[in-house]
């Protein structure tokens, strides 16, 4: 009995403490879009102390699902919404908002890059993922088995990468050795190995994780540089999107407008992506 009284007292106390005018916006989805949105959220809260923005990871698939089942206001996605996903949620009218541009870059361990494998054609990459090339030797690299790192099927980075490389966004990758999730996890696995190939958002490249250039069918070699992403010559690019159910209203509208503003677009650039203004 005492416990029940105590419980109700605590609930009352708990509700009394909460400020009813505080607005909470929940966001979840792609780990590629995550850095932009969580930095933007931190900035936005400074100007709007009565708004709380809760940001969660999980991948593009999670973002679409949770907006679809109307559990969150804003989803983060780094790929297009599939027709299956639209069919799954007939009560939701997905509306996307482009907030920036990014490239998906084939990456290799620094040991491979330093040994001279700095560019590959899309066909070569596809062969690696199909399991038809399994040793770096075949690509003029060291005599080492290729550690092919794939991503979970609903991840945005994978959809974009597979669409361009294999021609189908949900293509199977029989050559894959590991299947990982977030950009962070993929980056870690590439660094820990000395013979890995993977796919990463441009913003995750560093001295241990080298983005390789792509040899186009006409022989031109295109580096994954910001310039090439801006002018559209790098072949695997995508829009970073926010998705809402219908037109966003209230706090969600204001927050999206903030990301689209000059200040918000600066955050996009600082995080290593390309602003939509450019």
């Amino acid at each position: 009995m005492r416990n029940i009284l105590f419980l109700s007292a605590l609930i009352l106390l708990f509700n009394a403490c909460s400020k009813p005018n505080t607005k909470t916006i929940t966001v979840a989805g792609s780990t590629t879009v995550l850095p932009v949105v969580s930095t933007a959220a931190e900035q936005y809260k400074k100007a709007h102390p009565d708004t709380r923005i809760i940001v969660n990871a999980g991948g593009s698939g999670v973002g679409v699902n949770q907006v679809g089942s109307q559990k969150i206001e804003i989803g983060m996605i780094s790929r297009a919404i599939t027709s299956q996903e639209i069919d799954q949620y007939p009560d939701t009218s997905f509306q996307t908002h482009s907030i920036g541009k990014d490239a998906v870059v084939p990456v290799v361990s620094s040991e491979i890059f330093d040994s001279g494998v700095t560019s590959l054609s899309l066909e070569q990459i596809a062969k690696i993922y199909r399991g038809e090339i399994s040793n770096w030797k075949e690509l003029n690299g060291p005599d080492k088995d290729i550690l092919v790192i794939d991503k979970e099927k609903s991840r945005g980075t994978r959809h974009v990468f597979m669409k361009i490389v294999m021609g189908d966004k949900e293509a199977d990758a029989p050559g894959a050795d590991l299947v990982l999730g977030s950009n962070n996890e993929e980056q870690t696995a590439v660094v820990q190995s000395d013979a890995a190939i993977g796919m990463l958002s441009n913003a995750w490249l560093n001295e241990d994780v080298k983005g390789i250039s792509i040899i186009m069918p006409d022989g031109e070699v295109i580096e994954p540089s910001l310039n090439n992403i801006i002018n559209g010559s790098f072949p695997i690019t995508r829009n970073l999107l926010l998705v809402t159910n219908g037109d966003p209203v209230g706090g969600a509208r204001k927050f999206i407008d903030f990301i689209l503003s000059k200040e918000g677009q600066d955050i996009v650039t600082q995080n290593g992506y390309v602003s939509i203004v450019q």
């Binding site: 009995m1 999980g58 991948g59 698939g61 999670v62 699902n65 679809g68 089942s69 299956q84 996903e85 799954q88 949620y89 080492k144 088995d145 290729i146 550690l147 794939d150 979970e152 099927k153 609903s154 949900e170 199977d172 894959a176 050795d177 590991l178 299947v179 990982l180 999730g181 870690t188 696995a189 820990q192 190995s193 000395d194 013979a195 890995a196």
Partner: protein, 290 residues
């Protein structure tokens, strides 16, 4: 007044009983209902190799294999190590120290599995990779070794209890026959403690089957059976790691969700049956082991 307190009291007791029992049944029913779509629509094709939600292929064999192989590795390492250690703590260690050593082991059993995962990623996977000269240390073996460490405390403490519960007079009698300590333990102590040690192993098995976080971070998460199948230095996938990685991105109500659910349901049944066998038939004590 007294009578009404009596009634309220009984009401509270009955209510909490009904709620608790309802919850236990609810978990079972909810998982069963959500598995139904996959069982009826995918049917026996669940027992195939291909898992590809976009093509409506839901074969769970790779996951079953992964769960099985990781568990076998974990038990192969943990059983001899654990029983050996238990023989040490119960037969060799002076009994004054036994309570302290046991307490420490029991505390270690409480280390959260996500911390094992972190240690696995930071140390074990790199060690395995360099020791076997592999491209990646995320393998079935790595997950199995880590799992063996996680279940070791369970086996040690319970086997220690089992051995220690064997009455002294049996040992005295055996020693009186001029047997060596090894023969005393092998011929007299272990046969008597056998039932309880089996219980310890079954409980550890249950824990290994259901372990998620550490395995999910370390196994490489690829839905494949390695070639050849005993090559445990390849990555794989267990039921739990599959659930941990995919359930969030499958839409509730879809066939994909239902197929994942079915795997979870199968795993749950397996572990519950193991637990019930151990608790209800092998051990008569009421202590709960985790």
């Amino acid at each position: 007044m007294l009578v009404s307190y009596n009634k309220i009291g009984k009401g509270y007791i009955m209510l909490s009983t009904y709620i608790s029992m309802l919850i236990a049944l609810l978990i079972f029913i909810v998982l069963f209902i959500n598995s139904f779509d996959a069982i009826s629509q995918v049917g026996l094709k669940l027992f195939t190799l291909e898992w590809n939600p976009s093509k409506n292929e839901y074969g769970i064999l790779s996951m079953l294999y992964g769960t099985l192989s990781v568990t076998v590795i974990a038990l192969t390492i943990a059983i001899p190590l654990g029983i050996g250690t238990a023989i040490f703590t119960s037969e060799i260690l002076p009994s004054a120290y036994r309570i302290y050593v046991k307490s420490i082991i029991e505390l270690l059993a409480g280390i959260p599995s996500i911390i094992y995962g972190l240690i696995g990623i930071a140390f074990f996977s790199t060690w395995i990779a360099s020791f076997f000269e592999l491209a990646s240390g995320r393998t079935i073996l790595t997950a199995g070794i880590l799992l063996s460490i996680m279940i070791l405390p369970t086996i040690v403490t319970l086997s220690d209890d089992a051995i220690n519960n064997v009455p002294k007079k049996y040992r005295e009698a055996a020693k009186g026959l001029g047997l060596y300590p090894f023969e005393v333990i092998k011929n007299t102590v272990l046969p008597i403690a056998k039932k309880d040690i089996t219980g310890a192993i079954l409980l550890a098995l249950g824990r290994a089957l259901g372990e998620t976080m550490a395995v999910m971070l370390l196994i490489g998460s690829i839905d494949k059976i390695p070639t050849p199948f005993y090559n445990v230095l390849s990555p794989g996938q267990t039921i739990t790691s599959k659930l941990g990685r995919e359930i969030g991105e499958s839409a509730f109500g879809s066939l994909h969700f239902s197929a994942l659910n079915t795997m979870g349901f199968v795993l749950m049944l397996l572990v519950i049956i193991l637990t019930l066998i151990t608790q209800l038939y092998l051990r008569k004590s009421n202590r709960l082991y985790e």
